[in-house]
């Protein structure tokens, strides 16, 4: 800067002049909350349902009013339905899905991690997993029933198979997204292979694993209800199925509502789990 031989007038903006703030236009939803919009939408949909049922635009047999469904909730809660109490139906379904999710997680995470880390494990297990996982679970449900009977075993096994693949594949993807520098750094700190697996690989893959678990639970609910429709004496799916045979549309609505509530709580639980276990997700 010593090249300047003469000093010209230097104009410096006075502090009173505010610089113009140029705000970028985003393309997404931005950071303003959307909860109110969602609640309003729910109310509008509920109102539309009530109106359509009230004006009898659809035969009453096919579409009960919201009040009738609500009354039916109370009735089923007090008296049960199709030979079992509401508690028994719900707990039968919950038992199946929670047991299956636990087994799929306990087996899926280590298998997925090993597939991500070892060429042989991946080579051997890729064939069966890639073959079976795109199949719709209902396609092999008859096989489960033939092999394992119509009891709990066949249903839980079906669910485990349906939920295993997304968990296992996401654990594998988690290993693949692990930065190699992180492993190298651990090795220079004296980490043994066991340390690397437990302290580096598993936590690094955790965000992906939780995403996989959420997808698995979604698939699980779909499969569970379908399985209960076919062979069962308890469960929410069975309740819907027997109600439909008597054209008890209001009971069908109650069943659907319970499934929606359960699936929503599971999803919310995973979200809480994510906030507790991986608060660093997307921030590093």
């Amino acid at each position: 800067m010593s090249d300047f031989t003469e000093t010209g007038r230097v104009v410096i903006g006075s502090p009173a002049e505010h610089p113009k703030l140029v705000k970028m236009k985003g393309f997404g939803a931005g950071d303003r909350p959307t909860v109110l919009i969602s609640i309003a939408t729910a109310l509008v949909l509920l109102g539309a349902w009530w109106l359509v049922a009230k004006l009898a635009l659809v035969p009453h047999l096919f579409l009960p009013t919201p009040q009738e469904v609500w009354t039916q909730v109370g009735a089923i809660y007090n008296d049960g339905y199709a030979g079992a109490s509401l508690y028994e139906h719900v707990s039968a379904s919950l038992f199946r899905i929670v047991t299956a999710a636990a087994i799929a997680t306990i087996v899926g995470i280590p298998v997925g991690l090993l597939m991500g880390l070892n060429r042989w494990v991946k080579g051997v297990l890729d064939t069966p997993i890639e073959f079976y996982w795109p199949l719709p679970p209902l396609a092999y449900l008859p096989l489960m029933i033939i092999w394992l009977g119509i009891g709990e075993t066949s249903k839980v096994t079906l669910l485990v198979l349906a939920m295993f693949a997304p968990i296992c594949l996401s654990a594998q993807a988690g290993v693949r997204s692990l930065p190699i520098e992180r492993v190298n750094a651990a090795r220079t700190l004296g980490a043994r292979p066991w340390h690397i697996l437990i302290s580096i690989v598993l936590p690094s893959a955790l965000p992906e694993i939780l995403t996989g678990l959420r997808i698995a639970l979604g698939i699980g609910w779909g499969t569970l209800v379908a399985a209960e429709l076919i062979a069962s004496t308890r469960g929410i799916g069975y309740m819907i199925m027997s109600a439909s045979q008597f054209l008890a549309t209001d009971v069908v609505f109650v069943g659907i509502g319970i499934i929606a509530a359960c699936a929503f709580s599971f999803s919310a639980a995973i979200r809480i789990l994510e906030a507790v276990l991986v608060p660093w997700k997307g921030k590093s």
């Binding site: 930065p179 520098e181 992180r182 190298n184 750094a185 651990a186 090795r187 220079t188 700190l189 004296g190 980490a191 043994r192 340390h195 302290s199 580096i200 936590p203 955790l206 991986v278 608060p279 660093w280 921030k283 590093s284």
Partner: protein, 263 residues
């Protein structure tokens, strides 16, 4: 003493050609030294550091630490990487104590030692913070504390300040000198900044690419002068500093021109 003796690393490219990433490089890192390897990208300085760290096997030659050959990574050679490699799920203090945890040091001892190191790098108030809450310079300071926690025989630094802005970078250089003075750790530091090399090195080795080799060595005392006086400006504006900077720039550019002439 860490000794690199006629170390060479060859790669075979896909079309069958052999690339000499490192060609018969010899180097010693004695007690109390701060050796800086300086050169443009592709001159083999990172290859050399990776070989010393044990990530990369040598094609020829040997690397020994206190007489024992280096074959794999270990806690006796701490590494500070250019990219921050802190674990995002651990607090700052747990990150610093990670190597001690791997070594089976009891919790109270490792907390106490990690706290001392955080104090040394000026981050004692951030022990409970998570890495994503810190700036880039602070994260590198945690990285240095973490590498020092296992009391390595040598600290290897792979362009640790390369991603920082120039003001932070100068602060970090001064911090590093004070750490070096306090802990007496041997340091091997690589950079592509001539100023950084001159300011930090007790010895600067200038490297040149294709094949990666050492073309010049300078024994310097700028860092010791700064460590004694604490006066950065006096060191960096001294005529010797400026002359050496030009001399090294000529060497680097000269090797660049030679290479393009040969091609």
């Amino acid at each position: 003493m860490l000794k690199v003796d006629h170390a060479s690393v060859y790669f075979k490219t896909r079309d069958g050609k052999t690339v000499h990433a490192l060609d018969r490089v010899s180097l010693a890192i004695p007690e109390n030294s701060l050796i800086v390897a300086l050169g443009a990208s592709g001159c083999g300085k990172s290859t050399l550091l990776n070989a010393i760290a044990g990530f990369l096997p040598l094609s020829e030659g040997t690397i020994t630490l206190d007489g024992r050959p280096v074959t794999s990574p270990g806690a006796d050679r701490g590494v500070v990487f250019q990219k921050d490699t802190l674990l995002p799920w651990k607090t700052v203090i747990d990150n610093v104590a990670l190597g001690l945890k791997f070594a089976g040091v009891p919790k109270s001892v490792r907390r106490e030692r990690a706290e001392r190191l955080l104090h040394l790098v000026g981050l004692k108030d951030f022990a409970a913070a998570f890495p994503y809450e810190l700036s880039g310079g602070m994260r590198q300071r945690v990285g240095i504390a973490r590498a020092l926690a296992t009391e390595p025989a040598v600290l290897l630094m792979d362009e640790p300040f390369g991603a920082l802005d120039s003001l932070t970078r100068e602060q970090m250089q001064e911090l590093l000198v004070s750490i070096w003075k306090e802990t007496h750790t041997r340091i091997f530091f690589i950079t592509h900044s001539i100023e950084e090399a001159l300011f930090l090195g007790t010895q600067v080795v200038v490297m040149s690419p294709r094949p990666g080799r050492i073309v010049a060595r300078f024994d310097l005392d700028f860092v010791r002068r700064f460590a004694e006086t604490g006066d950065v400006r006096a060191v960096k504006t001294s005529p010797e500093f400026a002359n050496l900077r030009e001399e090294i720039r000529d060497i680097l550019h000269g090797s660049e021109e030679l290479r393009s002439a040969a091609e």
